[in-house]
Point group: C2
Chain length 292, copies 2
């Protein structure tokens, strides 16, 4: 992998509107593994320095998505441990092996998360979701033959709700598909709301696709419990800076350039912890202290 | 106007996604005036019976829009008063004159509403709105040279927010245009939310474009006051049946027909009175008893 290929990968991850936070974090690790296999280097010190710089750059691509920073920090930390032995060939294999192991760990966490969520929610439920979350989709897969029904929002601007509904349709899960604006009309028909997250703040607040806080407010208004399902890799540490809410190209809204009009396209919002009834991770379910 | 022309008009009003409730109510009155001018009839009794039947049919076209029923009921009541004098020519002129007077009354009410709203809101405000309301637009026109700034949602599925923004742009009002899903991200930047209404229920709850209740919940969450601005023709009487929330063609969401997936397109939602800080009508401003 040369520099221009790497820059192309960076640009693709930065511009990706299709994959969730965990998938992009795994993509970053896979890129590092690829780079580790083929990066030209004269010795281990130079090789590791170069790889760590690539990892640092990848870690900054998606500031709203905690797992990207988290898994890459972990990989970098593991690479530092290998300080005593900087044999180039060994280091190549070690870098690939650690990246591959973290990818597997991330996948396992998503899968364990969904197992806990499916068990917690139980059979015969109507659930509502917003945006595309691989953890939520995996939960739906586990519940698909247990009377699950879904209500799915389109999730503007790029309408990833369609991809959720396509999958649910192939699993024969009876599904209702609505505009984001209809959240308030339909949430009362759900037994619960289940969303993923891009980041989980240390106080339990959730950074997720714009519109999530509206769904949480509507769920509270109509007395429907609101659950967040995400791996612990999405947790931000208490001391971390507040998350940057990424803004994407305004062209995604497909409107003309009117004079004096600023078209905004912020992708994420923050749902305060007090609107959340339970957090589901790979280690289990944590309920809010006072369920309302 | 013959029956097939009238049926075409009825179908157009039923399918109209572009005009607000007051505009469509005036359109109904204008159709009645046109019909009154040219309807073939042998005598006044037959003529009035026919006209009243047309009015009854028009009144049922848009159940979510109170002014349609309200203004047509008023016109029908005025036509009944003329019971003593059923001279055909006189009745034709009278029907046209009453319809025209009610159209003028409706326009005046919208205009007076906007005057009260502009006075209440005052100069130098940033306001947020959802959907297209002629009353809100008129308020913006009155405030356009007084430092007004606007935040406007696109309002899916047919994105009438674009029409609002086009108008604001020609008035040089600095405007931010967002997806409906970003309401929660931007409402905190507004000094107040101002929306119109399709109907006002007797308890002060508001029927308006789907998404309005989400904006009201977000406004309450971020401590931003929420105002409803509409003429008294939109008020439903205490005894009236609860409003039907009209559903339009699911094709407006432009998604494929997935097996097992029901695509829903309910156009309206209900915002409970307790989320509203003030109601502005042509007679003035009524504040909520306890402003929060």
């Amino acid at each position: 992998m040369n520099l221009s290929q790497f820059n192309r990968e960076i640009a693709e991850i930065r511009g990706d509107r299709v994959h969730g936070a965990s998938e992009l974090a795994r993509r970053c690790l896979t890129i590092l593994a690829e780079a580790a296999k083929i990066l030209p280097a004269t010795d281990g010190v130079e090789f590791r320095q170069y790889l760590l710089a690539l990892a640092a750059e990848l870690a900054m691509t998606r500031p709203s998505m905690a797992p990207v920073g988290h898994l890459l920090r972990r990989w970098r930390a593991e690479m530092s441990v290998a300080d005593g032995d900087l044999d180039l060939d060994w280091l190549r294999r070690f870098a690939v092996e650690r990246a591959t192991a973290l990818v597997a760990l991330s996948r396992q966490a998503v899968s364990d998360c969904a197992v806990h969520a499916a068990h917690w929610l139980g059979p015969g439920r109507t659930l509502m979701t917003h945006s595309l979350s691989s953890t939520v989709l995996e939960t739906c897969r586990l519940l698909k033959d247990q009377g699950l029904q879904m209500i799915v929002t389109e999730s503007r601007p790029l309408i990833e709700g369609r991809r959720v509904v396509e999958r649910l349709s192939t699993w024969n899960v009876p599904t209702t598909y609505i505009t984001d604006a209809q959240m308030g009309v339909f949430v009362g028909q759900a037994d619960g709301v289940l969303v993923g997250a891009d980041s989980l703040l240390s106080d339990g607040s959730v950074v997720n696709k714009a519109g999530t806080v509206l769904l949480a407010l509507a769920a509270r208004e109509y007395g429907v419990p609101f659950y967040v399902c995400c791996e612990s890799f999405k947790q931000r540490a208490a001391g971390e800076a507040p998350p940057v809410l990424e803004e994407m190209a305004s062209s995604e809204l497909e409107v003309p350039a009117w004079p004096g009009v600023s078209v905004r396209n912020i992708y994420f919002d923050i749902t305060p912890a007090r609107l959340i009834n339970a957090w589901i991770s790979e280690t289990g379910v944590r309920r809010a202290v006072a369920l309302s």
